[in-house]
């Protein structure tokens, strides 16, 4: 299996002197292509810090982080922006859609910073919105969409550049359980199509959809084990 993510002894500290806090304490982990990993932990456990570093939004205080065999700490801000644009899709708890523009424009957003243009751009965005069952809401503004619909727009946006990996930070945190279940089913579907997904959550119910669960506490990995994903259970039942 090829490693997409290879992290060695990551340490992240904030502040100086007495107010110094350790968010990540010697974390090492790998994620291979096609994996669906859930990082679970309570708030303050360091899971968000970990995801920010893995997602090339932040740099570790020490330790080595390789993204697709590239040492991230040696890359320039512009190269990191390029990696985030082409290789990474982000999904956030609060969706983070631009309120003043349509679903379609929101999905097109990452393409603006790549080199995709005009009709190609629209075609890709429409395809993805269709994939997440929003073909009838292309021109709706975020305020006209339900929470689940907004998160599906965000998922389409994360997929639009055909990234190597998707990072989801509490993707169901703002959704009711029924909608959460639909979003998780969509994640499972994407994973079965070969997408690599790293998801952060504090809910076991959500984490159970992943094939691998990493438990983190006080900046340390407590447990890293394989999981029999819920989806697999579904499919077994069906057959």
């Amino acid at each position: 299996m090829k490693f997409l993510i290879h992290a060695l002894n990551l340490v992240k500290t904030y502040g100086e002197g007495e107010s110094k806090t350790v968010a990540l304490d010697n974390v090492s982990m790998d994620v291979g292509e096609g994996e669906f990993v859930a990082i679970i932990g309570a708030s303050g456990s360091g899971k968000s810090t970990l995801m920010n570093i893995l997602g090339c939004l932040d740099k570790p205080t020490s330790g080595k982080y390789f993204f697709e065999d590239k040492l991230v700490s040696e890359l320039s801000a512009d190269s990191l922006a390029g990696i985030r644009n082409k290789k990474i899709g982000f999904i956030f708890q609060s969706f983070n859609l631009l309120a003043r523009t349509s679903a379609l424009k929101n999905v097109e957003l990452p393409l603006l910073y790549g080199n995709v243009t005009g009709s190609d751009m629209t075609k890709r965005a429409v395809n993805l919105l269709t994939k997440v069952n929003l073909s009838s809401k292309l021109h709706s503004k975020p305020s006209q969409l339900s929470g689940g619909e907004q998160q599906r727009v965000a998922i389409a946006r994360a997929l639009v550049n055909d990234p190597s990996i998707i990072f989801a930070d509490e993707p169901t945190g703002n959704l009711d359980s029924r909608t959460s279940f639909e979003i998780m089913k969509l994640f499972s579907q994407l994973n079965s199509e070969g997408r690599t997904i790293v998801m952060i959550t504090h809910e076991m119910d959500v984490a159970r959809f992943a094939a691998r669960i990493i438990r983190i506490h006080d900046g340390k990995i407590l447990e890293d084990k394989k999981n029999k994903p819920v989806r697999a259970a579904f499919e077994k039942k069906k057959s």
């Binding site: 997602g55 801000a77 512009d78 922006a81 390029g82 956030f92 957003l109 910073y113």
Partner: protein, 396 residues
């Protein structure tokens, strides 16, 4: 981001806060509008003055009493020492560069006909005045050399004056009383309008010698020397200066050429325009500060948006250009509106005075407003571009 996308993203952001955007641009609108308006008035005035001077003839020199200080220092305050003696001497000793020497007498008089009277200006002129000023009689005729020589009491009136005194009657061959002396009206001029600040249509023109008799003094108010061409003006000037120096001191007279006079006036006008333009530019500066202020507010308001854009791959440069484009659109948009407002203002003003909006003024206005957008947009844009993506995403 390609330029088209950049523009559409920026315009969208500006449209989200329409009222705020218009109010922000207002400072620039007012600044540019006042610059355009001021330039249009000044340019109109320059054109007007230049054309007036052309009417007076470019190849001529004026001798006026007293000394004008500096390039243009208000009316002279010394005693008038220009006399007919001097005029005669100039006439006698004129060089080949000089075509004609004519004196002017100008006094304020009360002109009367029956019960109508009017305070106006009387000019005593030589008959040649009508020829080189290109003035023709609309009714009757102008006086001739003979009438000047013998100092006949004949008068040529401006149209306004003729209408005021004689109403619907034909004034020709009627009498006119000037300073209690009776003259005969022999002609009424075609409408002339204002030439060199004098309303010709209100003048009474009589032969120079008649005016000399009327005033009873030997003084003349000014002497006009016409030269063969504009090129011979310096030679003629030197020649005249030499003759005048014999009897007069340097402080007794001033020799003015049209060009000199024109350039002096235009110079003053230029300084005035620059000063007023400077004041207008201050309002443009204030407008720029307004833009800077609102852009800073906008950056704070949109911190999350900036974080998101960075998370999906926007480089610092892309964010910088987005916010810079927004501020330039605000200020350039304000500039375009300002040009329109200024142009309309100058159209309205053109009912009262001469105005022209030169192309360079429009270019200047738009150029300045773009500059203001770039200068005052840079700081907020740099601030936006330097935001850390995770900090920005965490912003509430």
């Amino acid at each position: 981001m390609n330029p088209v996308e950049l523009l559409s993203v920026s315009i969208e952001a500006i449209k989200t806060n329409k009222l705020r955007s218009v109010l922000t641009a207002l400072g620039v609108i007012i600044g540019v509008a006042s610059i355009i308006l001021l330039i249009s008035i000044s340019a109109g005035l320059q054109g007007f003055i230049s054309s007036q001077f052309e009417k007076l003839g470019a190849n001529s020199l004026f001798i006026i009493p007293g000394k004008l200080e500096g390039s243009f220092g208000g009316p002279p305050r010394t005693v008038n020492k220009l006399t007919f003696n001097i005029v005669d001497r100039l006439e006698r000793e004129k060089s080949s560069a000089i075509v004609d020497v004519s004196a002017f007498i100008e006094i304020a008089v009360t002109a009367r006909f029956k019960n109508e009277s009017k305070v106006t200006t009387l000019d005593g002129v030589k008959e040649s005045y009508f020829v080189y000023s290109d003035m023709k009689a609309e009714k009757g005729r102008v006086f001739n050399e003979k009438e000047d020589e013998v100092a006949r009491r004949v008068a040529v009136l401006g149209t306004t004056l003729a209408r005021d005194l004689y109403k619907a009657d034909n004034p020709i061959d009627k009498t006119i009383s000037i300073s209690n002396k009776t003259f005969t009206v022999i002609g009424v001029l075609e409408p002339q309008g204002n030439i060199g600040g004098v309303d010709i249509d209100n003048l009474v023109l009589i032969p120079l010698n008649s005016a000399r008799k009327l005033t009873g003094t030997d003084q003349v108010n000014s002497i006009l020397v016409r030269t063969t061409s504009t090129d011979t003006i310096p030679v003629a000037k030197e020649h005249i200066d030499k003759i005048l120096k014999r009897t007069l001191s340097e402080d007794d007279y001033t020799l003015l050429s049209q060009e000199q006079l024109l350039s002096s006036i235009l110079q003053i006008l230029g300084v005035l325009t620059a000063a007023l333009g400077g004041i207008a530019a201050i309002s443009l500066l204030v407008g720029g500060i307004g833009i800077s202020n609102i852009m800073l507010v906008s950056v704070t308001e949109r911190t999350r948006e900036i974080g998101l854009r960075k998370a999906v791959g926007a480089t610092n440069k892309a964010i910088l250009s987005q916010f810079l484009t927004e501020s330039v659109i605000l200020s350039l948009g304000g500039g375009i509106l300002g040009v329109i407002v200024g142009y309309l203002g100058s159209l309205i003003l053109s009912n009262f005075l001469e105005t022209t909006v030169p192309v360079w003024a429009v270019v200047l206005g738009l150029g300045f407003s773009t500059l203001v957008g770039v200068i005052f947009g840079t700081f907020p844009a740099i601030r936006a571009s330097r935001l850390e993506p995770i900090e920005a995403l965490r912003h509430e």
